[in-house]
Assembly symmetry: C2
Homo-oligomer: 237 residues x 2
């Protein structure tokens, strides 16, 4: 049984990826980061998701991306939110301020080190280039380039044991992701997507991540199990 | 004045690289990792080196590579050492057990994030492929591939502001590195190279890193300022 490393944030996408890796027959080791994000709700969700999928090999590691800053998720910058007049859209074009510089590069680098130590050659990440926020490190070109790097950066790669970076959600809509996860038995009520939850861990319903999640459930035509802090308007999806 | 990020471990090589970056006219931000290595002597040395070179922008960040393990530097595995009969050579062929899986990939990933936040496009690393231990992530192919990755992984890269990864020591011998550093005023007495120092921070004199450093000073024909814990034999260099 081949080992696979899954980057598990505790969000909707990575929970689905973990279920896909298990369904593909991998002996999954999940890797979660406490990276100095605005809250710990996400990493608690990762623990619940790992447990629900019977992933016993779950490593949580702490890194301090606040020492770098530069993002609404890791510095004292407000998370942009849709207001009642914006029809659910979060204002702004281009790459948003929630982009965390080099985050997926850092996450995949750790996963690569862990893969090498555990004898895994397969790394799974929930990157998605359809219903996403335009982050550069969620695109196919990034995944392909990281895979090339992995094979020159490591002892295993140099010895000819090629690494594969899997991004099975890359070309799926959020609705398709939800359908696939439900087929595989993912309990989305355990997952957390909001960038800026309240003190109880309830989702704001108005950040970009909430908006994409909400629209996804609406498009999928299935009930959204998310607990929202406030009554949110229709997203227009 | 262009900003440059320098990975500063506190060792001989990275101290030289910092001096080179300053000499090249960069406004240097130094980045040091406490990564769960066997001792903190190295990061203390980084602070001394930064101060001696008047680098005021010096960030030290903590990451836990012990959660990954797999190396004599980050797990409970003995650091290999030359004994009195080995003429100074540390036993073993191939990539040694002191190799830390994906370490330079992780370090450069953080540096990339920091570079993007600080508006730097130049990142400096003390990788060397001459007098080195055979680590895969110290070779030109690795540096070139990381640079390619940097330019698809980031907002700045996507917007056409290309990153450059500098490894100015890549093709220099340890002796040449020492001569260059001395020309630039590096005080090597402030630096630390040993993988396994004693409780006082004195170098063991017998690990691969000590051996390379010692041989370098001998070949350079200059006094070695290193404080060794024990009287070490000639290295045969």
């Amino acid at each position: 049984m081949a080992r696979g490393i899954v980057l598990l944030s505790g969000g909707l996408d990575s929970a689905t990826v973990a279920a896909i890796a298990l369904d593909d027959g991998f002996d999954v080791c999940a890797l979660t980061f406490c990276y100095g994000q605005r809250h710990q709700v996400e990493s608690l969700a990762a623990g619940r998701v790992a447990e629900s999928l019977s992933i016993r090999d779950h490593i949580t590691t702490t890194i301090d991306l606040r020492s770098i800053g530069g993002s609404a998720l890791t510095a004292d910058i407000d998370v942009p939110k849709a207001d009642s007049s914006s029809n659910g859209e979060v204002a702004g074009d281009g790459i948003p301020i929630t982009y965390v510089p080099a985050r997926n590069t850092i996450f995949l680098s750790f996963a690569l080190g862990l893969a090498e130590v555990r004898g895994a050659r397969d790394i799974f990440i929930g990157a998605n280039a359809v219903d996403y926020s335009g982050y550069p490190d969620c695109r196919p070109a990034f995944i392909e380039k990281f895979q090339e790097l992995a094979n020159v950066a490591t002892k295993a790669g140099v010895e000819g044991q090629a690494f594969r970076i899997h991004a099975p959600l890359m070309h799926m809509t959020k609705s398709q992701i939800i359908h696939r996860g439900l087929e595989l038995g993912v309990d989305y009520g355990l997952t957390h997507s909001c960038y800026d939850p309240d003190a109880k861990g309830s989702a704001c319903g108005r950040c970009e991540s909430c908006r994409l999640r909400r629209s996804g459930f609406e498009a999928a035509g299935v009930p959204d199990p998310t607990v929202y802090a406030v009554c949110v308007g229709e997203t227009g999806g």
